[in-house]
């Protein structure tokens, strides 16, 4: 699944992100995922006659935060009506920004050092959710769709990249980095599976060295970073094979079929939409003033790139696998656990490894409180919990919540201080004099035998590494 030799791909991404506001973009209805159908609706978002849109300050501020984080210019902007007939939009038009978007120009630097230019990041409203009923094969008239307008009017920002992306892996890296930025700014929860972040990919191919762009196809239905990468790879392969065989790429929208691993055509050119954009007469131009823009910039939290730099600096001279771990904890948004643990005295390499391996593997890791994780890692660092016990307490925290010390106690992970561990090791060594002699003569395999007995005596509360260290120091005496 890869592009033919002699061809290169040119990819641009359009990312739609729902904003984490309290209310919708143009009305005071709650912006809430998972409410009962049609409970967050009013005359404005139902498109009832005589209703008027009023812009949400919170949505504008989040759009400005996104623009600032991407290095865009935040400009005076205006709204247009994008007209089309589809039951997900009761007004029969979507209010969007057209020729004067709020954020223009910008750059996203990826972890590998490459950069992708941002063309624009504009505000618009989301549509309602349609559910199609009726299996295929039923009589024509029996098929119908059900519409829930809770999502209609929820604020979105659409971020459009320049066609600067040259590989499927880079497309994935761009979407991952953008998602981390959206989460960091508090603009979005970045959940692709729930549809709060949606990615469309514009893919074209050309012969290496050609200056002109090939005809592009837009790929939709990319529900995860993995689908994005697979779909871009597949589409570039399809187009390069088509062109190499003397065919021509038709400009069209294609749907990614995750199961089949292919893209399929959705819509022919004849059906191309004509949206008849015109200025929204019910909204005045949006003019964010300088003090507001300055405040948004000043309040912008640390972005993923800066957070990676911080972690790498803590490690001093990170190994390649530690670099990967840094990338992954920042991508998962759980890097604050590492930095906080390190400030509480936990060894940086241990903190990174625990968070990147044990914590990241937990289902719901991002719901863990940073302080709780720091407590567990500190307890482990102080020898109060073994590595295995620390893992168990973290799992308990995700599952039940609560106080980590309490959870450790309830599990019977009593504090095993250094002196009682020493006493137990002495006791075990004394009980097995023959094995001890062989160990002292260099039979290292016997270390596990002693660890096993110490574990048995301490009901698993000893730290295996501490026991081995204790054995080694006794042998060298």
């Amino acid at each position: 699944m890869t592009i033919l030799d002699g061809y290169e791909m040119v990819v641009g991404l359009e990312v739609h992100t729902e904003l984490k506001t309290v209310t919708k973009l143009f009305c005071g209805c709650a912006n809430a995922f998972g409410s009962a159908p049609n409970t967050n609706v009013c005359p404005v978002c139902l498109g009832l006659p005589g209703s008027l849109p009023v812009l949400n300050r919170g949505a504008v501020e989040l759009a400005m935060a996104i623009g600032t984080a991407l290095g865009c210019s935040i400009l005076p902007s205006s709204f247009h009506r994008k007209n089309y007939f589809y039951p997900d939009m009761p007004k029969d038009y979507q209010i969007s920004q057209y020729d004067e978007p709020i954020n223009v120009g910008g750059t996203l630097e990826l972890p590998d050092g490459s950069t992708v230019r941002i063309e624009r990041a504009h505000l618009e409203e989301d549509t309602g959710k349609t559910t199609h009923v009726g299996a295929s094969g039923r009589i024509h008239g029996a098929e119908r769709s059900l519409v829930d307008y809770n999502r209609a009017g929820v604020p979105l920002v659409e971020i459009v990249s320049a066609p600067d992306i040259t590989s499927a892996a880079q497309a994935r890296a761009y979407a991952a980095e953008l998602r981390s930025i959206l989460v960091a700014t508090g603009a979005s929860d970045g959940r692709m599976e729930e549809g709060s972040m949606r990615v469309d990919a514009n893919v074209s191919v050309r012969r290496v060295g050609d200056a002109t762009l090939g005809t592009r196809c837009e790929i939709k239905n990319l529900n995860s970073l993995r689908s994005l990468q697979r779909a871009v790879d597949h589409e570039a392969e399809r187009q390069s094979e088509l062109v190499a065989a003397g065919g021509r790429v038709v400009q069209e929208t294609r749907h990614w079929d995750e199961v089949a691993g292919t893209t399929v055509t959705m819509r022919s050119k004849e059906e191309a939409y004509d949206y008849r954009y015109f200025p929204e007469p019910d909204l005045l131009p949006l003019v964010p003033e300088d003090p507001w823009r300055d405040r948004v910039a000043a309040e912008l939290p640390a972005l993923p790139a800066a957070r990676r730099t911080t972690l790498l600096a803590l490690l001093g001279e990170p190994t390649p696998s530690q670099r990967d771990q840094v990338l992954s904890v920042v991508e998962l948004g759980i890097d604050a656990m590492v930095t906080s643990a390190v400030s509480s005295g936990v060894d940086p390499a241990r903190a990174l490894s625990r968070v990147a391996n044990e914590v990241a593997a937990l289902n719901g890791a991002e719901t863990l409180g940073v302080d709780d994780v720091v407590t567990v890692l500190s307890m482990e660092q102080a020898g109060e919990l073994s590595a295995t016990h620390a893992k168990a307490v973290l799992a308990d925290l995700v599952e039940h919540g609560g106080d980590p010390r309490e959870l450790a106690k309830r599990r019977g992970f009593e504090q095993l201080d250094a002196s009682s561990l020493d006493a137990t090791i002495d006791e075990v060594v004394a009980s097995f004099p023959d094995e001890w002699t062989r160990y002292c003569q260099g039979d290292d395999k016997l270390a596990q035998f002693f660890v096993g007995h110490v574990m048995k005596q301490t009901k698993g509360q000893a730290d295996g590494k501490a026991v081995i260290a204790g054995l080694a120091s006794r042998r060298s005496r």
Binding site: A30, L55, T130, S145, L146, P279
Partner: protein, 99 residues
């Protein structure tokens, strides 16, 4: 600039889901042509030194605070719909994908 054609009007009518008879099409083409010709009177002015205007008022958008305002009762809303199923608006079969 070429004048509005009958085909232009037919195209716009199709996009707006309006079924126009030949007679309607004739009449609206004449009327819309007159409207556009009137707008063309603006070409008599010199706009070289005028900045593009998005809105006639010299005012910026009023912004609402991000606070929930109670909307409509669901039963009241769904009672207005021709068909309802599972607390959702029920619409006839949709041809084609969402734009």
């Amino acid at each position: 600039m070429t004048s509005l054609s009958r085909e232009d009007v037919a195209h716009v009518a199709k996009l707006a889901r309006l079924a126009l008879s030949d007679e309607d099409l004739e009449r609206y083409t004449d009327q819309l042509r007159a409207v556009l010709d009137h707008a063309r009177d603006l070409e008599a002015f010199d706009f070289e030194s005028t900045a593009p205007t998005a809105h006639p008022f010299a005012a910026a958008a009023y912004l609402r605070e991000d606070v929930v305002v109670e909307g409509l009762d669901r039963d009241e809303v769904l009672n207005q719909a021709p068909a309802v199923e599972d607390d959702r608006f029920c619409v006839p079969q949709i041809i084609g994908d969402a734009p």
